[in-house]
Symmetry: C2
Subunit: 294 residues, 2 copies
């Protein structure tokens, strides 16, 4: 049953009873309608209509087609109105992806967004791999650093994550607290395992301390923070996280050169939709009140 257009033509003929009427509704010439019916009947090997001078009367097969195509037309009409409307409504899924390290910065934003737009279901994806917006894997990505992006991606700056060097109280008790980077000799550090990390503070750390001073490495930001809190060494913790951890001792205060920029990335096709725009507005609004961020 290929060629759905011929079914649509036959449907209108069955509904209206005349070739001419169907042609007018379909916006084609009545000769086209006749050819469609002839082709369809030939392919089915069965007559759909009784032809007579006053029009076409549907046979049993034609009435069957009428009923089926009737529901099809309604379903397609509903589909079209849903699709046409969905770009204008804030509903359906909103898929957000980011590095897991800023989860507790983003989660409150997404929760309040979902409460503001109850028709939206939020999916928050965090994974080691980078989700691809051009594959439609997410509507919005919040990414750190200044990496290259696909040509069709829309990039907007969101905030700057401040980070300072911290150690646990237990570490300070055992090894003391360096006053500046000139005083780093004999200290041990916690650093990202990713040698090609784009986080400025980790790059600074790798450049500043001796390799053998790095005593603990981990991939995820949470794991690094855990290591610092448990006394594995001195390490960078983002300021918004450190504020919630009274057990941490600030070794060196945040500096501008350590700040990691957060950027919002969307695909150009989805960027225009009201749903994505609503979330971007909501997100930027929330970011204004983020403490410890530049």
């Amino acid at each position: 049953m290929d060629n759905w257009d011929e079914i649509r033509t036959a449907f209108q003929v069955a509904r209206l009873g005349t070739v001419s009427g169907a042609a007018e509704v379909l916006g084609v010439h009545h000769a086209t309608v006749i050819r469609h019916i002839d082709a369809l009947e030939k392919r089915l090997g069965s007559k759909l209509f009784q032809r007579h001078a006053r029009g076409y009367t549907a046979t049993e097969a034609g009435r069957d087609l009428l009923a089926v195509a009737q529901t099809t037309e309604e379903q397609f009409a509903h589909l079209a109105s849903r699709i046409k409307g969905q770009g204008e409504t804030v509903s359906g899924e909103l898929v957000v992806t980011s590095i897991s390290g800023i989860s507790d910065l983003l989660t409150p934003v997404m929760v309040s967004f979902q409460q503001a737009w109850p028709d939206v279901r939020v999916r928050f994806l965090t994974d080691m791999r980078v989700f691809r917006l051009d594959y439609g894997e997410a509507h919005v990505a919040i990414r750190a650093g200044t990496g290259a992006e696909e040509p069709d991606n829309v990039v907007q700056p969101l905030a700057r994550i401040k980070a300072g060097l911290y150690a646990s109280q237990s570490y300070v008790d055992r090894f003391g607290k360096p006053a500046s980077e000139a005083d780093f000799a004999g200290h041990r550090f916690v650093c990202s395992d990713n040698e090609t990390t784009r986080a400025p503070f980790h790059r600074w750390l790798r450049a500043t301390v001796q390799p053998d001073q790095i005593a603990y490495l981990a991939t995820e930001a949470v794991a690094l923070e855990d290591a610092v809190r448990r006394g594995a060494g001195i390490g960078f913790v983002s300021s918004f996280r450190a504020a919630d951890e009274p057990g941490l001792v600030e070794v060196l205060a945040p500096r501008a050169e350590w700040e990691a920029p957060l950027r919002i990335v969307t695909h150009v096709d989805l960027h225009r939709t009201r749903k994505v725009q609503a979330f971007l507005t909501h997100l930027k609004d929330a970011a204004k009140s983020w403490k410890f961020c530049g």
Copy 2:
């Protein structure tokens, strides 16, 4: 939502994930597929797919279309198999029409046919007007006489209805029984009201007796028979009816010149179907055992 073929194309792309795959399944060039998608998205004003080098990924709208078109395709496939198969099966409606006068000749045939093919529902239409087979009003018509038929109608002889002249016992008691048509003077007759009737016996009667001898006229065969039985006059009754009426007295025995031919008429398009063929076989078979028919 015109152009259902584009929906079908988009459906295959959403299902397979690539333009090339969809093109192969649809049996068209992949350039055509791309153009269909572009046209459909433009008309809907919304992206159905995220394009990337590895193929097309459906957006929410695309997944919505996939689901709708999936059911559509299944419904069309079922429709096609029903239509293709229905010419081969003996099921659905069988619409038979005839003059009401031979109802009790045909009814047993149709009842036994329905019992032999339980999937068939019989509709038996009798009306003053002639049903038109080319309008699809009936599958099979059983008609009397030798009237002209539409060019697309298939005509087959069925049987010859014998008729004789009868009167009621009460009539014979009052007026006597003529020995032949030479003895008709002073008798009264019952005849069809239709002056252009094609029934040979009624034409014979109108030609043979004086107009003022016709004392009772009616349109329907049943009404004429009732009139004869009640003593209104001498009239023609078909032999198969007279056999069931012990109160009738035969005035003149059936003659060959009075016989009315019954013919089966079908439309050429429906004539080929197994259902109609099955009924024709059944009907002709039953007609062989009809008594009082030539």
